[in-house]
């Protein structure tokens, strides 16, 4: 059906192009000189007017027409037929209207280019539209949630169990919605991840930038980048099936009680995932420190490590802080690793060996499967989502600002 519609529209468009071109030529009596634009530009003009309104009509039908389906089915109609009719009739109307406008004096190129300009402008607006969509969809449902559960309880409550009902007299009566354990879980895993990725990423960047030969660098850098390209679900699998049992066995051998899903396993693997972010961003920051600084320090008899520690790192600090902030924002928003390896138990603990849950893992669990949009349980996911969005964007904005200031310093 989709294919049929697309093919027929494509056919109409090609036809329209020829109609426009032929018509312009015949009107001009075969003399190009009397036309304001090239014959092909008349063709483009008619083709655009055929394809564009029809595509918009089809899109509108595709999204809103779904609503007509039950009605159509009741009346024994295939709802897709009117859709196709709508598409083709709009295309024909567009073609006829545009073809009628073809005159030697008509500025086809200018007219076409105006439409293209508008189309390009609208495309750039899709990003804004997406943001508005994200904010609105989160905000509406989150507000409905906060009508059921007070924000004070959400942001300060210490007990999170959205699945079971604790007190039947509670508003929403489906569970406890104190999100503090969820936030601390996120914090704990992020801390573990950063304590892996910051030292390794930073030291790797320094080694590659200051010590490694160009050949080593050209081999090692892309290898490190692979770590960033591995899908998170693969890391999740690795964390849950390789790292977690390893930690558990190790914990048992030294007499520690490690739960099979632990913040440590998820955090370690997430840290590995983030290494390339830190290393490539801080590599950029260190490379942005002017060569003269490095030479000045070396010429005074400083060793390379003294130059790095006393001149380059302090000078690149804002850039590195920016890189770390971006990585933190990434870690907070990371989902699959925690869903697969961190567990779902909301526990208020700072012990990385126990299972914790995170904002992202809760969003996934609350929204997988059938949702009722009026239950506090489902709506809680949107409140968590809104918190997550504000948090990650806030950190990211600070990071971008820090990096921008840092760049200006050396430009």
């Amino acid at each position: 059906m989709f294919l049929l519609a697309a093919l027929s529209l494509a056919g109409m468009t090609v036809l329209a192009f020829h109609v426009g071109r032929r018509r312009a030529l015949s009107k001009a009596g075969g003399r190009w000189g009397s036309l304001r634009s090239l014959p092909t530009q008349y063709g483009y003009f008619v083709a655009l007017w055929t394809a564009l309104p029809a595509s918009i009509a089809a899109l509108a039908w595709g999204t809103l027409g779904q609503r007509a389906l039950p009605w159509a089915a009741e009346n024994g109609l295939d709802a897709r037929i009117p859709g196709l009719v709508l598409l083709l009739s709009t295309a024909c109307a567009g073609l006829a209207w545009a073809a009628a406008k073809v005159e030697p004096s008509f500025p086809a190129r200018e007219s076409t280019e105006r439409i293209i300009r508008i189309l390009l402008f609208l495309s750039s607006g899709v990003a804004i539209l997406t943001t508005i969509g994200i904010v609105l969809s989160l905000l509406f449902e989150a507000l409905r949630f906060f009508a059921l559960v007070s924000p004070v309880e959400f942001f300060t409550g210490l007990s999170w169990s959205p699945q079971t009902s604790l007190r039947s007299d509670q508003v929403g009566s489906s569970g406890a919605f104190g999100a503090v354990p969820v936030f601390t879980g996120t914090l704990l895993i992020t801390l573990v991840a950063m304590s892996v990725s910051i030292p390794i990423g930073l030291l790797a960047a320094i080694y590659l930038g200051e010590y490694a030969s160009p050949r080593v660098r050209s081999v090692v850098k892309p290898l490190l980048e692979i770590l960033a390209g591995v899908p998170t679900v693969v890391y999740g699998f690795f964390a849950a099936l390789s790292v977690a049992p390893m930690i558990r066995r190790f914990g048992e051998s030294v007499g520690l009680d490690v739960s099979s899903e632990s913040a440590l396993a998820a955090g370690l693997v997430m840290g590995v995932m983030i290494i390339p972010f830190i290393s490539s961003l801080s590599d950029d920051a260190i490379a942005a420190v002017p060569r003269a600084m490095r030479d000045g320090s070396l010429a005074l008899g400083a060793t390379r490590s003294e130059t790095v520690k006393k001149v380059l790192l302090p000078a690149a600090l804002p850039g590195i802080v920016g890189a770390i902030l971006m990585a933190v924002s990434r870690a907070i928003g990371e989902t699959m690793i925690v869903v697969m390896a961190a567990g779902l138990a909301a526990r208020l603990t700072a012990n990385p060996l126990s299972a914790v849950t995170t904002v992202t893992a809760q969003i996934v669990t609350l929204l997988i499967g059938d949702q009722e949009f009026d239950s506090a349980k489902t709506l809680a996911a949107f409140a968590l989502g809104l918190t997550l969005l504000v948090l990650t964007l806030g950190i990211n904005l600070i990071a971008l600002e820090t990096v921008r200031r840092f760049r200006e310093q050396y430009e």
């Binding site: 010590y211 030969s213 160009p214 002017p290 003269a292 600084m293 490095r294 030479d295 000045g296 320090s297 070396l298 010429a299 005074l300 008899g301 400083a302 060793t303 390379r304 003294e306 006393k310 001149v311 302090p314 000078a315 310093q409």
Partner: protein
């Protein structure tokens, strides 16, 4: 040449047992005393040879100006004296260059220590993004020249004084070095270099980024510093070379065409090419 710096093993023998003439083995009697001496020095960047058999003796406590057209090897030579060429991975050196008779390319030379002996001032002022005080204190700190804060203060103040900068910055030592004007920054870099008490100071066109007034101050300063240091200076300005140097070496295409007393080079050059260059016929 290896890119990394071989740490020198501590000398096995007691330094006092060494004979002074042992340490001056390559200096033949009768030649003028030279602080820095190059003997058949060649430098290559990958396949390309930048210096061809340079022979040059630089006497102590004088200003030696290196002149010549761009790309003639002056800066390359300068960077051989403190082995800053090591930073470039493809760079290779053959022949000999000595500081007070010690072979600088010998594997037992510790470049960290060498660079404490041979300071360098760059073309563009490059103060670290630290305070004025910390800029000057950087060298003494890494080399451990001061045991107490008071000693360090003395070194910093003395160096700023000698660089003629103390009066201007006395009351704002904690401000960043980058807040100074271009000429002040360059004098700060000179103060930073002399704070380590080097024997030689290398200057790579130290005034090319400065205005005439700042240039005049730096030139004055160089003239004063010559009493305590040996200064080797690359310059593009004939007038500057004539004004402040005692000796001049003219480089061309990686070779020394002529060297000698500045006065002689500028008034009565032996070589036609030198004559052409200093009168501005090429270069």
């Amino acid at each position: 040449m290896t890119r990394s710096v071989e740490p020198s093993a501590p000398p096995t023998a007691d330094p006092h047992e060494e004979e002074p003439n042992g340490a001056r083995a390559t200096t033949t009697v009768g030649e003028p005393r030279a602080r820095v001496r190059a003997i058949g020095l060649n430098v290559f960047y990958g396949e390309k040879q930048a210096l061809f058999g340079i022979d040059l003796a630089i006497p102590p406590n004088q200003v030696t100006a290196l002149i010549g057209p761009s790309g003639c090897g002056k800066s390359t030579f300068l960077r051989c004296v403190n082995r800053m060429n090591d930073v470039i991975p493809t760079c290779r050196t053959t022949g000999r260059i000595e500081l007070d008779g010690a072979d600088l390319n010998s594997p037992s030379i510790d470049v960290v220590q060498l660079r404490a002996e041979v300071g360098m001032v760059f073309q563009r002022p490059n103060p670290f993004p630290k305070s004025i005080y910390d800029n000057v204190a950087y060298g003494p700190r890494i080399h451990g020249l001061a045991e107490t804060r008071a000693e360090l203060d003395d070194i910093v103040m003395g160096s700023l004084e000698r660089a003629g900068l103390l009066k201007e910055v006395e009351d704002r030592l904690t401000e960043p070095g980058t807040s100074l004007s271009g000429g002040q920054q360059q004098r700060l870099c000179i103060a930073r270099a002399i704070a380590v008490k080097p024997r030689v100071i290398l200057m790579d066109e130290p005034c090319s980024a400065l205005d005439p007034i700042a240039t005049a101050r730096i030139e004055e300063l160089i003239d004063e510093l010559r009493e305590s240091y040996t200064i080797i200076m690359v310059t593009h300005s004939m007038q500057q070379a004539a004004r402040i140097s005692q000796r001049t070496a003219f480089f061309h295409l990686g070779r020394i065409i002529e060297e000698g007393e500045t006065e002689q080079i500028f008034t009565d050059p032996h070589e036609e090419r030198t004559q052409d260059y200093i009168t501005g016929r090429f270069g």
